[in-house]
């Protein structure tokens, strides 16, 4: 049984003109445990919405999302929050670190809503991403590359089964992008987490053995050029 199984998933939004705008229409998608899959999608292809649905941040209009055997669409919002806190790590393009918190506190905060704080593990993760000397720095005191490394550590803090990465290198230069991507992939591998990454960056996509075209998976997305 796959770790993640999405079936007949639909999500639409109301446009300002009152019309319904379908954003996600996925008939079938699966991700095995510890697998690393990249979804290729241009802007507007419903990447973030799909990841938000999988993370339980958004509730689908219809369809099912099974994560680790649990049917997410049947869960209440607090139950989805709990599932997200314990089984999912989320890496954003803009890092989404809390500015008032230190590097270590950002990682600890990622743990506090899940299984609970494990200071030792948080420090080990930060050491793993090369930030053992920046534990008490504020995010704004770090470079963008370092900030994304904090976000990687935070995503892995709860020992998740699945890490979702939404354009994680979008705000980084080439060198930092390569380094961040390697860290994400190694971190997931070392912690036994599956990785579902969405990106439009060919260089990033080229790093993955399995790349799927979001336009093919998501019928609501406009057909785009396929990246092989």
């Amino acid at each position: 049984m796959p770790l993640l199984h999405v079936s007949q998933l639909k999500k639409s939004f109301l446009a300002p003109d009152g019309a319904t705008h379908a954003v996600v229409d996925v008939s079938e998608f699966a991700l095995e445990e510890k697998a690393q899959v990249a979804l290729a999608g241009e802007s507007g292809s419903g990447k973030t919405t799909l990841l938000n649905l999988i993370a339980g941040i958004l509730k689908p209009d219809s369809g099912t999302i099974r994560l680790g055997g649990e049917e997410m669409s049947a869960l209440s919002e607090p139950q989805r929050d709990r599932l997200r806190a314990t089984k999912i790590g989320y890496i954003f393009q803009t890092f989404n670190l809390l500015q008032g918190y230190t590097v270590l506190e950002n990682v600890l905060l990622g743990m506090s809503f899940g299984a609970g704080e494990d200071r030792e593990f948080a420090m080990a993760l930060l050491k793993r991403v090369g930030l053992e000397n920046r534990l008490h720095h504020q995010p704004r005191q770090l470079s963008t590359g370092q900030q994304q490394r904090v976000a990687v550590a935070r995503a892995l803090a709860n020992r998740p089964k699945l890490v979702l990465a939404d354009e994680p290198t979008g705000n980084l230069d080439h060198a930092n992008a390569r380094e961040a991507l390697a860290l994400i992939r190694e971190g997931c591998r070392e912690n036994g987490a599956a990785l579902l990454l969405v990106s439009h960056d060919r260089e990033v996509l080229a790093q993955f053995e399995t790349v799927q075209d979001l336009a093919r998976i998501n019928r609501a997305a406009a057909p785009k050029e396929v990246v092989s």
Partner: protein, 414 residues
């Protein structure tokens, strides 16, 4: 807050507390400003209540050790204020014979005459008999005590015993001499020729007697410039009764059957009537304090509500990390309550300052001492009420936070 805690799991609560502590630090400036407004409001609220109730309790408890006052026909309140509190003008004199009649009355345990009409730099000279300083218990078991080295004045000499507060303010000490001024209000042109010597300073009694310069009755009666025709008159007679029934009987005799004199009895009840008369002022002050408290609570609401827009992304991130809506809601309510709690902690300092200043003013004006450290239920109820109001004020911004759309506020959105 207790209710909020009861509805939340321990983990949700501890997460909320963590977020609150961080948020208070992050928004230190607005937290300080808002907490300061709560502190001012809370300090004012507590001070108004305590000053009001303590002054009422203290003033109605000040009788000077007497049950009644006999004086010229006037209002009972004026008589009490003039002869017990040494405030207000004397309503007039009564003949020495009236004093002697009362003194001889078997229903009277003690009758002490006083005569007023002179001052020294605004502090009243009160002529009386030595019984006032030797026999009168101004409070149960407490008599006036002259400081070591001094003694009670000789009724035949121009000697004075100075109350502790007056002595301190005037700088008078044993052996000093002074010339009184005519009238109850100081006017340097009205200096009497007579010179008095200070033979004693009283230990503090925390009563209006502390503001008085005591001399012999004859001293006031025969002061140069006073009308020789009234030289034997007294201003009032302070009366200690043998029984409450005697008070009722004498009140009937002087107030209902006679029309020359006024018998003010019982003193405590007359003072209570004063507070009833100025009760509207209490209510206005209390209303102002309540309004200030409400405005301060509103400032907590406005401060947190206005910060919600800039906090939306932070809330969305927390929610994306797995924070529940309930955690976010309770964090905002707790933050609001915490700001009120910080404010109320500071409010005790402000309360202390206000009450100390008011107590000093009351003591200076009346000699009555209000203890600023008195424990009063409002010192518990006001903080509890303000914290509860603060928590309530947090509900509106908390609801806004609760409804924050996570996906919409996590950028970028494709």
């Amino acid at each position: 807050m207790g209710c909020t805690v009861g509805l939340l799991s321990n983990k949700t609560f501890s997460n909320a507390v963590r977020l609150v502590v961080k948020s208070l630090r992050q928004h230190a400036l607005s937290t300080s400003v808002t907490a300061a407004s709560i502190a001012l409001a809370g300090g004012l609220l507590m001070a108004v209540w305590v000053v009001k109730s303590e002054s009422q309790k203290t003033f109605t408890g000040v009788t000077g050790g007497f049950d009644a006052v006999l004086g010229a026909r006037s209002s009972q309140l004026q008589l009490v204020l003039n002869s017990i509190f040494h405030l207000e003008a004397s309503p007039g004199n009564l003949a020495n014979a009236d004093y002697l009649d009362l003194k001889k009355d078997t229903r009277v345990a003690l009758a002490v005459p006083i005569a007023v009409g002179d001052n020294f730099h605004g502090y009243r000279l009160v002529g009386t008999t030595t019984e006032m300083l030797t026999d009168v218990e101004f409070a149960p078991g407490k008599k006036f005590k002259v400081r070591e080295g001094g003694r009670v004045f000789d009724p035949n000499l121009r000697e004075a015993v100075v109350g502790s507060f007056a002595a301190r303010k005037l700088g008078l000490k044993y052996g000093d001499t002074f010339q009184p001024f005519h009238g109850l209000i100081f006017n340097e042109r009205d200096k009497h020729e007579e010179e008095y010597v200070v033979v004693g300073v009283l230990e503090p009694s925390n009563t209006p007697a502390d503001r008085v310069i005591w001399i012999s009755l004859a001293g006031i009666q025969n002061m140069a410039g006073h009308d020789p025709k009234t030289a034997t008159d007294v201003s009032a007679v302070l009366v200690k009764l043998r029984s409450p029934i005697a008070g009722k009987q004498l009140e009937l005799m002087y107030n209902k059957q006679g029309n020359r004199l006024t018998f003010a009895w019982p003193i405590a009840q007359i003072m209570a009537q004063l507070f009833d008369k100025i009760g509207w002022m209490d209510r206005v002050l209390a209303l102002i304090a309540y309004l200030v408290a409400l405005v301060a609570t509103g400032s907590v609401l406005a401060s947190i509500y206005n910060s919600m827009n800039e906090r939306r992304r932070e809330i969305a991130i927390l929610r994306a990390l797995g924070a529940r809506r309930g955690t976010i809601f309770s964090a905002v309510v707790l933050e609001s309550a915490a700001i009120s709690a910080i404010g109320m902690a500071v409010a005790f300092g402000i309360y202390g300052v206000i009450v100390s200043v008011v107590a000093a003013v009351i003591r200076e004006q009346t000699g009555v001492v209000i203890d600023p450290l008195t424990l009063h239920p409002v010192l518990l109820l006001a903080p509890a009420g303000m914290i509860a109001l603060g928590a309530l004020a947090g509900v509106v911004p908390a609801w806004k936070a609760y409804r924050t759309d996570v996906a919409e506020n996590l950028v970028p959105v494709s």
